[in-house]
């Protein structure tokens, strides 16, 4: 990304640069890069995580074990499921609501504030709140379903409904964030464009389909990206609500890693899970930036920059 450099070459001076960068480099290498490297190192050992460094080298055995582990393969499948649900349900919902709130709807500022509020709450609070609301015995959700004559559900307690329940909580917590992104993106589209389309006779849906939606492309791609990365690292909600259960049916990669690393002291194996998470994120990010967001990175992404 070559851009015009400010004419500040006079400020050069190796020592100045070094002194200014040093704290950031120390912090970043010490606490971000070093841990990731350590995870790589530990992943080829059998290690209980006790003091000192691991010694029992086992090559790639942790990884072959991982690929044969049904729980881990299940994690991948559940991660994919959450990604698909997010893309098919949560993001369209956010986009739709953002478009509605972009119109002159009564109480628009209030709705905006309300929809974004859950994002500010911690995952822990959200998790505990929904444990009570989706409680099979005395939860609010079953009570409301009762009005419509629907039998009570087991929500988090049933392997067949637990992922759906987790997804409901995720949607509650995160759709407002994506909505905010879309609202900002929508505001970055000049009025003239939609107005021109209208003068040409395009109706509401057509304006949206052929003008607004394409121009929202960069925002949508970012939103998709963040959803996927979020699903890959999902931990807090699941850990507090179900701990991965019942019988692993809501476990995510991060939860499995945490179980092995901090509860069962198989740190080598857990590190292998971390490494796989790292590569999944890396491959996805590189692929996505290269093939999907390429156009955006070439300058089209300035749409939102003026929002501040």
């Amino acid at each position: 990304m070559k851009t015009t450099r400010p004419r500040s070459l006079r400020l050069r001076g190796f020592t100045t640069i070094l002194l200014f960068l040093l704290p950031a480099l120390v912090l970043f290498f010490g606490l971000v890069v070093a841990p990731i490297l350590l995870a790589f190192y530990a992943s080829v050992f059998k290690w209980n995580g006790m003091r000192g460094l691991p010694t029992d080298f086992i090559g790639l055995a942790n990884f072959t074990r991982l690929l044969a582990d049904e729980v881990f393969l299940g994690d991948l499948w559940r991660g994919l499921l959450l990604i698909i649900l997010s893309l098919v349900i949560q993001l369209p919902l956010s986009l739709g609501i953002a478009m509605l709130l972009n119109q002159r709807i009564h109480g628009r500022a209030f709705f905006r504030l309300l929809f974004f509020a859950p994002y500010v709450l911690s995952e822990a609070i959200t998790a505990v709140l929904f444990m009570m609301i989706l409680s099979p015995t005395e939860g609010l959700a079953n009570y409301i379903l009762g009005w419509f004559g629907i039998d009570p559900l087991d929500w988090f307690a049933d392997p067949s409904s637990v992922m759906m329940s987790v997804f409901i909580v995720m949607t509650w917590k995160y759709f407002g964030f994506h909505m905010i992104l879309y609202i900002a993106g929508r505001q970055g589209i000049p009025r003239e464009l939609t107005e021109a389309a209208q003068i040409d006779g395009a109706t509401g849906w057509k304006v949206f389909r052929y003008v607004t939606l394409p121009l929202l492309g960069p925002t949508i791609r970012i939103s998709v990206f963040l959803s996927v990365i979020g699903a890959i690292q999902l931990f807090d909600l699941v850990w507090i609500i179900t701990g991965g259960g019942p019988s692993h049916s809501s476990e995510t990669m991060a939860v499995t890693m945490f179980q092995f690393g901090f509860k069962r002291f198989q740190v080598g194996y857990a590190s292998a899970i971390s490494v796989v998470m790292f590569f999944i994120s890396l491959v996805f990010a590189v692929f996505y930036q290269r093939y999907v967001m390429r156009r955006d990175l070439e300058g089209a992404s300035t749409v939102l920059r003026d929002q501040r």
Partner: protein, 285 residues
């Protein structure tokens, strides 16, 4: 496209259509609002009342759940811990990132872009990837059960976003200002401290708000670093309280509602910075 000009504009569709659109928004508002309202009202009920009358107003109103939370020393301790950690994290991450962003924005040197890309790449790695080795490292440094064990890693993982946003802002400040400062005998540090930072105040506010919110809600890191519950932050406290009083739902509800208040209050005050930070961060990330 069809030629039927002068058709109604999309924003002013028929009354029927606008009612149905409004309905969607209202339904969504219920989906978001009812859980919150249920929590607030539930805290004023007894657990018994809550199961017989989950949705109505409390009768009678029982303030004891709330007063007992507000009267418990451990709650205030956690509030203090969370505040302390959030403030220090923010100071560290903003100070360190501002220095680095200054260099990335205003200096030309070999390997600058590569170095910047390395920092920026930190964005795409989930925190969960590093938690395990991070724990091992923190144990090696003796930082377990020490607030620094949470503050420093949080600051380190907050750097990519902060540097990206600040660099963009620093770049936008015209070079003429810098030249004038240099001609007047300003050192790089003097320029940074006396001119750049004051000019970048909105951006500093934005990244600070992001750092506070991230720190406030962080769960995984304190979970592994703190075993001594006098160090617990609010998210850990919420989980612990839920474990202790799982059957006394009304009481747990009052607890989480009180625990929500600081975050919601902060949101009310800093909504603008938060939204601009998230959109800017997302777009540049």
């Amino acid at each position: 496209m069809s030629a039927n000009r002068h058709k109604q504009s999309p924003t002013s569709g028929g009354p029927l259509r606008s009612i149905s659109l409004h309905t969607i928004v209202v339904i969504t508002a219920l989906f978001v609002g009812i859980p919150l309202l249920y929590g607030v009202l539930g805290g004023f009920k007894t657990t018994r009342q809550l199961s017989s009358n989950p949705i109505g107003l409390p009768s009678p109103w029982v303030p004891e759940n709330y007063t007992s939370v507000l009267g418990s020393a451990s709650f205030w301790q956690m509030l203090w811990n969370s505040t302390y950690i959030a403030v220090l994290t923010t100071l560290v991450v903003v100070a360190v990132s501002a220095l680095a962003a200054f260099v990335f924005a205003r200096f030309a040197f070999r390997g600058r872009e590569a170095l910047f890309t390395m920092f920026a790449a930190g964005l795409m790695f989930p925190f969960a990837v590093a938690i395990l080795p991070l724990f091992v490292l923190l144990r090696m440094f003796g930082l377990l059960d020490n607030p620094l064990g949470v503050i420093l890693p949080q600051a380190a993982f907050g750097m990519p976003m902060t540097i990206i946003i600040l660099r963009g802002f620093f770049r936008a400040i015209p070079g003429e200002i810098e030249e004038a400062a240099i001609l007047d005998g300003c050192s790089p540090l003097g320029f940074f401290w006396r001119i750049l930072l004051p000019m970048a105040r909105p951006a500093i506010a934005t990244v600070s708000v992001l750092a506070v919110v991230n720190s406030w809600n962080q769960f995984m890191l304190p979970l592994v670093v703190f075993s001594d519950d006098s160090l617990f932050t609010i998210p850990l406290g919420v989980m612990q309280f839920q474990g202790q009083y799982a059957t006394d739902i009304a009481r747990v509800m009052a607890y989480i509602v009180v625990a929500m208040l600081p975050a919601l209050g902060f949101y009310a005050v800093a909504e603008r910075q938060l939204v601009s930070g998230l959109t800017a961060g997302a777009i540049k990330g």
